[in-house]
Assembly symmetry: D2
Homo-oligomer: 305 residues x 4
């Protein structure tokens, strides 16, 4: 029986995901986006931004471990971390798990979202917002980075796809990544959530990769299987020094132990390395990918073409 | 706009996938199952059995390469291959790509399905049914294996999940895998498509693994993300001799070249090995998994509990 | 765009109605039924019981005028009225509009529902619950009528369709209508909401009619077009004396004025009479309809056959 | 269980109707519109134009009897009838049922649609296209009426709602109705299908009424409940002479018998008259309705406002 309350996510005009709503929590609109927080069957509590799934209780740990720890491990001793976006607080939570981290600054444009997550999704942040090492700044990331003098060991870009006219369009460009690089300490690393890595919709993923290659000596795209996103997900790691593929499994285990990350539920030491092995169809597309610039921005579209 | 013709797949009572139908091809029922063949947006031609997606044109190559070639490469020189199920003919197609293969027998219970796929999905089989090395037998796999004297180098189990009362329930048991082992030549390998490997619905995957461990000295679960299945997918490779993890990347590349498999679109040499790196949550469940026996069969259920 | 929150009503396995949810108000379960109160597009605030639409703000006036006033006008001077069911309070509201009414007793089995409607749907009752002429009794209607000594001029049955095992199965039988007749004063009238009057699902409507004919000298089925129910709706009026079809339009206007019902928004004087003109397909079915008894109860089913 | 093939009709952005598809028949596009012909559960064979339901086997008789016979009966002895639109052939079928009719001309713009209906929906036309009294002209109705010298006793407008830019926009104007009047014989009658008569979306219905009032001495709006349209439906009858409300029930029965229409399944003699009794909310809107002119055309919109 399928009657009652459902939430529909229109991934594109051809693909719809329907989620049975077990409990209604919140529905509204901030200055920047539509926000829905619902308790779904299977997925548990789930956050949707602009009607697109962002995080589900069942597997937000997969996404957030995959987003944060490859960068943490590749750097090895990151003390100062910048998170761009990440309103739920789970990226912050994972960053703060690393014992090397002394300061984590999270810059999110949407203060209302951060507040709603704090109130309704405490399972995500698990106290991270209250951690004395954490600082939350409500600001446009572009404005922040333009104006700060701070430098970081690790910058994590946890932004939604660039929708036409939205604030994140300019946050996925060569110009912006150059700015970020200026705010990295020596040996600094940056990781970018980069959209789907499925056989059809992976152009964004490989374009971000090509863009980072314009700015960083080491760029390693990797992927993870996010069940609640209904598709394999792409990330890019860019590094000013260390290549994660130069680390052998023993060194990875040593770093994981040193950082106190033994109890990750997704990212095992062997999966850390394996995540950088991409399917043939992505490798082909990577060769043809074009960098994103302010002049030629990437605009996420729901159409097929 | 979402009006018009759609196909709904109810993965469970809580999760629905909606696919826009671009072109209707076939809808009907064989002696064994409901069969729908549709041309969808994004996915292209797609086969549904009992309203569950089986194969989509966009990424059937991912599924079939992931199902077939880890076994082919691990064995290294498989000449005789048995495919159980695999009605679409794409498993057969991939098997026949390996230059070592001299004979491939495909046993599917549903002759009507095989015929429909031959007619409506020629992109899957690509002539494989006409290959002189191929033989298609319409039979219950259990009955076939009980009565044949043939022995194989590689057996590939490409069956749908065991639904209560359905013919595949007894094809996922310790007793049946023992039977299969008796039909393996020395050095023989078996691979089993084993359902989802997402954080919620992976009990079947790890149970098949535990069952194979009762019968084979080497069992290696692995995974792949099948976009059109909406989730990461689990497979199990069981071997009487070679452990795929003992192969280094050079040896894998050597075998791939020797077998003429250089042009795989999904399974790159490094992805071959990486596929065996599983997430922490699967590793935990593997430790607790129980073997499936005729007395304690596994029945796939759509409910959450 | 169809993403976001929707409520699905499965009228049958073949017919689904989807309503966009503008505002979530309440979702829960009382001792007797699932209750959903939502603000929908077009329909406004809407009450669903067991996932079936009961009343929508846009046209509850159509349903409630059609349910109440044919009985009020046919009787002409009803002073004491019994409402069976009617949890929303709008039936009570309409009854109390008639200036002849001195006392209205509403018996509903579901006190939680009545309370929820009072709180969330004040537009329905519009103060009726607070009217000194009104009395609300939370009780099973069968138990109430069995045990009361009270007699009424008009009894209005505003019950949901009889679902197997549900409390309303015995409230649509010859035996029960005989009981009701014993509680009617001379000249007493009874009206019964009787389900759809569309060409397919009208068996319940004509069966209630046939049942009342076993007990009352005058039985007049009539209909109204309830937009939010997606189908034409059937009612039955049974009378111990007056036949509404004997009233001419002048007399109807006279009664409407005397009762203070000039401002009805649906039931005009000419529509009062016209409502008793039924389509040919209903007239044919009425001839073949069988009475409902405790031994042969009517069970509403969602299947087609 | 709701999996499998469904057809979705988006009445507006807030109201969706879902129909289970039992059998796929045709899906395509003519020069003028999208055409889908499907066999649905409950509804049987069903025609959709531009994804909007046009006719369903279960109750096309309700629509077509309600569209045709009030005009036939009001005129009483129509010999020459013009049908504008009516591609399915069921309007033609009903017209030809009247024994007075000697010639029926049907003008539809979409020859492909007419051909598809002839082939796939023979239950609609039931041989009408082959009747020697019938003539089908594929032409724009405006062009046809501008250029013909023919005069008619009855003109039936069976057109879809006027969508912006579509060919029917100018076929619902005062100017066009004046043209039609010039092609009526003395005593001539015209009936117009006029869209929904529900409490929300009835502006078109009353606007057509107001427009006809500019041109004809007698205009009588009436309604019928079309189950498969999910709402009560409005029609307008305009007459150069006879007012249907001047006919008493005896005269109506006499005419029905003389015309050989005794076996109508929807429109009984008493329902003929009752159909002109409209609800209060329509009467109020009729008073405020404005005529449609070429300068101020009516454009059907799916939005709520």
């Amino acid at each position: 029986m399928s009657d009652g309350l459902w939430f529909w996510e229109e991934f594109t005009e051809n693909l719809l995901y329907g989620y049975r709503v077990k409990e209604f929590i919140f529905s509204g609109e901030s200055r920047f986006q539509k926000i829905d927080i619902l308790k779904l069957g299977v997925f548990g509590k789930t956050l949707f931004l602009d009607r697109k799934i962002q995080s589900a209780q069942i597997d937000e740990f997969v996404f957030h471990e995959a987003l944060v720890h490859p960068g943490i491990i590749t750097h090895g001793s990151a003390e100062k971390v910048l998170i761009i976006g990440g309103g739920e607080g789970a990226t912050l939570r994972e960053v703060l798990r690393a014992s090397s981290v002394k300061r984590a600054i999270m810059v999110d444009i949407d203060g209302e979202l951060v507040e709603l997550c704090r109130r309704h999704l405490p399972e995500w942040s698990q106290g991270a917002f209250e951690d004395p090492r954490a600082e939350v700044i409500i600001d446009d990331a572009y404005h922040y980075i333009k104006n700060t003098e701070e430098k970081f060991d690790l910058i994590i870009s946890d932004l939604t796809e660039p929708l036409e006219g939205g604030p994140s369009v300019k946050l996925f460009t060569k110009e912006y990544y150059s700015l970020l690089r200026e705010h990295l300490n020596e040996g600094g690393v940056i990781t970018v959530q980069s959209g789907s890595s499925d056989p059809f919709y992976h152009k964004f993923f490989v374009s971000v990769s090509a863009t980072l290659r314009e700015v960083f000596p080491v760029v390693r795209p990797y992927w993870a299987f996010i069940f609640s996103f209904n598709m394999p997900w792409g990330f890019n790691l860019a590094s000013t020094l260390t290549d994660p593929l130069d680390l052998d499994e023993d060194e990875i285990i040593r770093r994981i132990n040193a950082l106190g990350l033994e109890s990750l539920r997704y990212l095992t030491p062997s999966l850390f390395l394996s995540s950088f092995s991409l399917p043939g169809y992505i490798l082909s597309s990577l060769q043809k990918a074009e960098p994103i610039t302010e002049e030629n921005p990437f605009l996420w579209t729901e159409s097929e073409d």
